[in-house]
């Protein structure tokens, strides 16, 4: 109820303040015009005369200090006199009529209309401020994970049949890298809610993570059950494929990779990896891509080196050349390329990545101690 009242009152209060500010500003401007009364022309004349007097004083001071000799001083004074004559002769800027009331009021009216109108167009007077400390949603967020998990654990110890509790805590365990606990939690969920392809895959995932790359028979069983239960389940097939690769069961791997690829829409992030996996599996586990890569690098390096040594290039291109030589295990050429790059880019600022690369590859740095 009070929030509703706020919503209506907020803009009204805001607009009254805005109008009051505008009125104060306009009044200040209006009274500024009335407040100052000075005879304009005298002040300007006085100012000009004062200026010439100062210039004359300066010439005389210079003469006294010996910075000007007598003839120079006379010349300077003569020039000053001519300047004064010129300024007297030049038509004075005619002091036209003073600012009248009409243009002033017109200007003030435009100011008020422009500001209020423009704000109505741009502003959001209905939105209140929301400092972080005064926001109710914040409380929910401020609980940290450990605390929350401990609370749920205590509750599950009292009521182990609480499906919702297990569902919440299982992914939290994965996040906390407590994989064995996560697997146990997923087993509980499956027991309480009945199995599904997703749940079985989650359980298998926790088991595989817990095994830390060593594989798990239970996980394989669960994944196979999941894949069998849902012919359109991609995640279980991807796990099965990569586990089969690990176990060198390339025929099975081929089948799972193919199934996963067939299920893909074409934009999935795992798709390139799956295609490569399929290619490797079809080749009985021999990764030809590395050999192809090596061949490609060799071809590319020749062209790049030729160009860089002849015409120079960016520091990134030099880094690429050095990296390529290191991949090809050609230390001597890598060192030569690095030295040439240092000649081209003497400032360390330019070659951060290159230096790291060279250090990593065991090249000699700081060769030329300046």
């Amino acid at each position: 109820m009070p929030r509703l009242a706020d919503k209506r009152l907020g803009p009204m209060i805001f607009w009254s303040i805005a109008i009051a500010i505008t009125a104060i500003a306009c009044a200040a401007l209006f009274y500024a015009a009335a407040g100052r009364t000075v005879n304009a022309t005298t002040s300007e004349m006085a100012d000009q005369n004062r200026h010439f007097r100062l210039a004359l004083d300066a010439i005389e001071a210079d003469e006294r200090n010996g910075r000007l000799d007598a003839s120079q001083a006379v010349a300077a004074k003569g020039e000053l006199a001519r300047e004064i004559l010129r300024s007297k002769a030049s038509p004075e800027v005619a002091a036209t009529k003073s600012l009248g009331r009409a243009p002033l009021l017109f200007g003030l009216a435009i100011t008020a209309a422009l500001s209020l109108g423009l704000y109505a167009f741009l502003g959001r007077p209905d939105l209140p401020t929301q400092p972080l400390t005064e926001r109710p949603e914040l409380l929910a967020q401020s609980l940290d994970l450990d605390e929350a998990v401990a609370r749920i654990e205590a509750q599950l110890a009292r009521a182990p049949q609480d499906l919702r509790g297990w569902q919440v805590i299982a992914p939290a365990y994965v996040e906390m890298r407590r994989f064995a606990d996560a697997a146990e939690a997923y087993r509980r969920v499956i027991a309480l809610a009945g199995p599904s392809a997703d749940l079985r895959t989650d359980l298998a995932e926790a088991l595989l993570l817990d095994a830390n790359g060593a594989g798990s028979d239970e996980a394989m069983d669960q994944l196979e059950l999941a894949a069998a239960a849902d012919p359109a389940h991609v995640r279980s097939r991807l796990y099965l494929a990569s586990e089969s690769m690990r176990l060198a069961r390339y025929d099975e791997a081929q089948v799972y990779w193919q199934q996963a690829i067939d299920l893909a829409q074409g934009t999935e992030v795992w798709l390139p990896a799956a295609r490569q996996g399929l290619a490797v599996a079809q080749n009985d586990g021999v990764d030809t891509t590395a050999a192809e890569q090596l061949e490609m690098i060799e071809g590319m390096v020749g062209g790049l080196a030729e160009r860089l040594y002849a015409e120079g290039g960016t520091v990134e291109e030099w880094a690429q050349l050095v990296r390529s030589y290191l991949v090809l295990n050609d230390r001597e050429s890598a060192q030569r390329a690095y030295d040439s790059a240092v000649d081209a880019y003497p400032a360390a600022f330019d070659r951060g990545e290159l230096d790291t690369l060279a250090l990593d590859g065991g090249l000699t740095l700081n060769g030329d101690d300046r």
């Binding site: 435009i110 400092p131 400032a347």
Partner: protein
């Protein structure tokens, strides 16, 4: 409601600026009463924009993420100072800061212009309001800092970690004060062109503003340079980055303006050139803003690239600068050049100064814009790097530095070069001796190094020559000399000190460029490395948690050549909200030299360590600080205070409005 009130204040300031600009520029002959209204309007604009600015600051401080700006650029875990400085660590906020400083200068001009002729006041404040209207309008319509979000997110996107540093609290406000301060000179130039009032009095009004802006700009650039030096982690203090050039060009032009306004004030000469420089200087400030804010350049300064904004700024630039130059083209033939002088005179020396500085601006401008234009027109990407700038700029500065000590010793109008030369002979000999001695000790062969040293010492000592000359040191009793020194006008002191600062900066630059040493290596805790007599021992490595980042920290013990040991703790931080890393180099000062230690990326099981030894690097910034100090000293000289001294006036109430 505070956010919306701030928003309204900005809108009202914009409306007042629009009306003031129209009133000031169209009705400028309407005398004192209009001047009073415009002055009041200028002060109101400042008050209102200040309210708007404070509203945004308040929203950042209390982490009110219903303000889109805070949601995008703040974070509730940020330390308080970075919440405040984060207000201008983004495009919209920095535009608001720009407008705030613009209206601050407008209000100062209004406050100090009470004794100015009313037509000049009207035109100056009118032009200033036009600038405010243009920039406040740009801010409101294309980059409104008051955009709201509903519903508000629970956490903000955080500020670029590189900017989470006290440097952000100091560098932009100083730099903007410098940039924007030149707007007053610009407004005075436009006023002079429209009203035809261009005389020595005009120069006397303009020069303090030039001096003030130049002082801020010097501090701003020096601060930016030192910040880049310690924060970017590469030990470089100047990169000829287009953004740095964008701030350096107005500085060069402003330095030229400072000197040519001097000629105009003292000798009533170089009038048209001075007006031209005043327009050029502010135009370069605007160009800098355009380059940085349009997103054409990518750097830590570019917060968002949005082509629309770029086009709008470009259009504003074209209208403001184009309009000013058109005015200049139409009106300048009608202005009278004044003051004749011989080539060898103080005027002549100052013209030489202007010539070299203007050419240097041209060189930097070409080097900065050429790659951009080439990219835009032909799509070819080239990079004009440090070698180009070092060579062209160095070649232009060398003769300037060579003739610099002569300038203050030459008389106005017609001077005796031989006499000035004789008075400088001792200092020249001293500079040559020191340059040869140091080069011999360092084992340098004939190269640019001794020449650079020579110029540095020459300028530094030559600056004192006038003080010694004026005090007749050595020719009369010491006490008498001291009394004379103390009695010298502050303007003479400020000239000497300013030029000396420049000489020290040159010495610092030469020394670092010639004798800097660097070492890149891998170290494990327990191992040591050595560079230029410093032994760097890697004691331990640990990971610590900061308020909003995780840091890899290395503990090092550095043993200096004289035996003393210091503990250094360089860090690599990863900021939680954005996941971006920063390097926090550890810097140890030895006298005027520094040892710069950077903990590089982790490499397998070891760490990349970069160490630099920077001999006499502090001279670069000390020189800049001394130069700004000279500016402040000059401003404190009673004779060049803002405008003319107040004359007593009898105020009598006017009968009717």
């Amino acid at each position: 409601m505070s956010i919306e009130l701030g928003h309204f204040a900005l809108v009202l300031a914009f409306a007042i600026a629009v009306v003031s600009a129209l009133g000031g520029l169209l009705l400028w002959r309407r005398g004192e009463r209009l001047a009073a209204v415009l002055s009041q309007a200028a002060i109101l604009q400042f008050v209102l924009v200040a309210v708007a600015f404070l509203a945004v600051v308040q929203a950042f401080v209390v982490s009110d993420f219903s303000l889109a700006l805070a949601a995008n650029h703040s974070h509730s875990l940020k330390p308080l100072i970075f919440k405040i400085s984060g207000v201008w660590g983004n495009h919209e906020g920095s535009m608001l800061l720009w407008v705030l400083i613009l209206v601050l200068f407008g209000a100062l001009a209004a406050a100090f212009s009470r004794s100015l002729p009313s037509d000049l006041t009207n035109l100056v404040l009118g032009t200033q309001s036009l600038l405010t209207a243009a920039f406040a309008g740009f801010t409101l319509f294309t980059s409104n800092p008051f955009a709201r979000l509903s519903p508000a997110p629970l956490e903000g996107g955080d500020l670029n970690p590189v900017l989470q540093d006290v440097g952000l609290a100091i560098h932009p406000p100083l730099l903007y004060a410098g940039y924007v301060g030149f707007s007053i000179c610009f407004s005075f130039a436009v006023a002079a062109l429209i009203s035809g009032r261009i005389d020595q009095a005009w120069a006397r009004w303009v020069r303090p503003w030039t001096m003030l802006s130049w002082t801020f700009l010097t501090l701003g650039i020096a601060m930016g340079s030192y910040w880049a030096y310690y924060e970017l982690g590469w030990g470089g203090w100047w990169f000829w980055d287009p953004v740095e050039n964008a701030s350096f060009m107005p500085w060069l032009a402003g330095t030229a303006l400072l000197h040519s306004a001097l000629v105009m004030e003292k000798r009533n000469a170089l009038k048209i050139w001075t007006i031209f420089l005043a327009i050029i200087t502010f135009s370069l400030s605007l160009l800098g803003t355009f380059l940085v804010r349009s997103g054409i350049l990518t750097s830590v300064h570019t917060f968002a690239s949005d082509p629309t904004r770029g086009l709008v700024i470009l259009a504003m630039l074209a209208v403001l600068i184009g309009g000013a130059f058109m005015l200049f083209a139409i009106r300048s033939p009608a202005l009278r050049q004044g003051g004749l002088f011989a080539p060898i005179s103080r005027e002549g020396a100052l013209i030489l100064n202007n010539l070299f500085l203007a050419t240097a601006v041209g060189a930097v401008l070409v080097g900065t814009l050429y790659p951009l234009l080439l990219d835009a027109l032909t799509g070819t990407t080239i990079s004009v790097g440090a070698p180009f700038f070092n060579f062209t700029f160095g070649a232009l500065m060398a003769p300037l530095l060579l003739v610099l000590p002569f300038g203050p010793l030459l008389a106005w109008k017609r001077a005796d070069l031989v006499a000035a030369g004789q008075r400088l002979m001792g200092f020249a000999a001293l500079a040559v001796f020191l340059a040869i001695l140091i080069s011999a000790l360092a084992g340098n062969s004939i190269s640019l190094v001794p020449i650079g040293l020579l110029l540095g010492f020459w300028v530094t000592f030559g600056a004192i020559a006038e003080l010694i000359e004026r005090s007749r040191l050595g020719r009369i009793p010491l006490a008498e000399s001291m009394r004379r020194l103390a009695g010298l006008p502050r303007s003479i002191w400020s000239t000497a000190i300013g030029h000396m600062g420049l000489g020290l900066t040159v010495l610092g630059i030469v020394s670092v460029s010639a004798w800097e040493t660097e070492l890149v290596t891998t170290l494990n805790p327990g191992e040591t490395a050595e560079l230029s007599g410093y032994v760097i021992a890697f004691d331990s490595f640990e990971q610590v948690e900061g308020p909003n980042y995780l840091a890899d920290t290395g503990a090092f013990t550095v043993t200096g050549p004289n035996g003393g040991t210091e503990d250094l703790m360089p860090e690599r931080r990863t900021y939680v909200a954005s996941g971006t890393p920063t390097t926090e180099a550890a810097i140890q000062t030895y006298g005027l030299s520094q040892l710069y230690l950077q903990l590089g990326e982790p490499l397998d099981d070891t760490h990349v360590i970069r160490v630099w030894h920077k001999p006499y690097i502090l001279l670069i910034w000390i020189g800049a600080l001394i130069m700004s100090g000279a500016g402040i000293l000059s401003l404190s000289d009673r004779r060049v205070r803002f405008g003319v001294p107040q004359t007593a006036r009898k105020a009598k109430p006017e009968a009717s409005l």
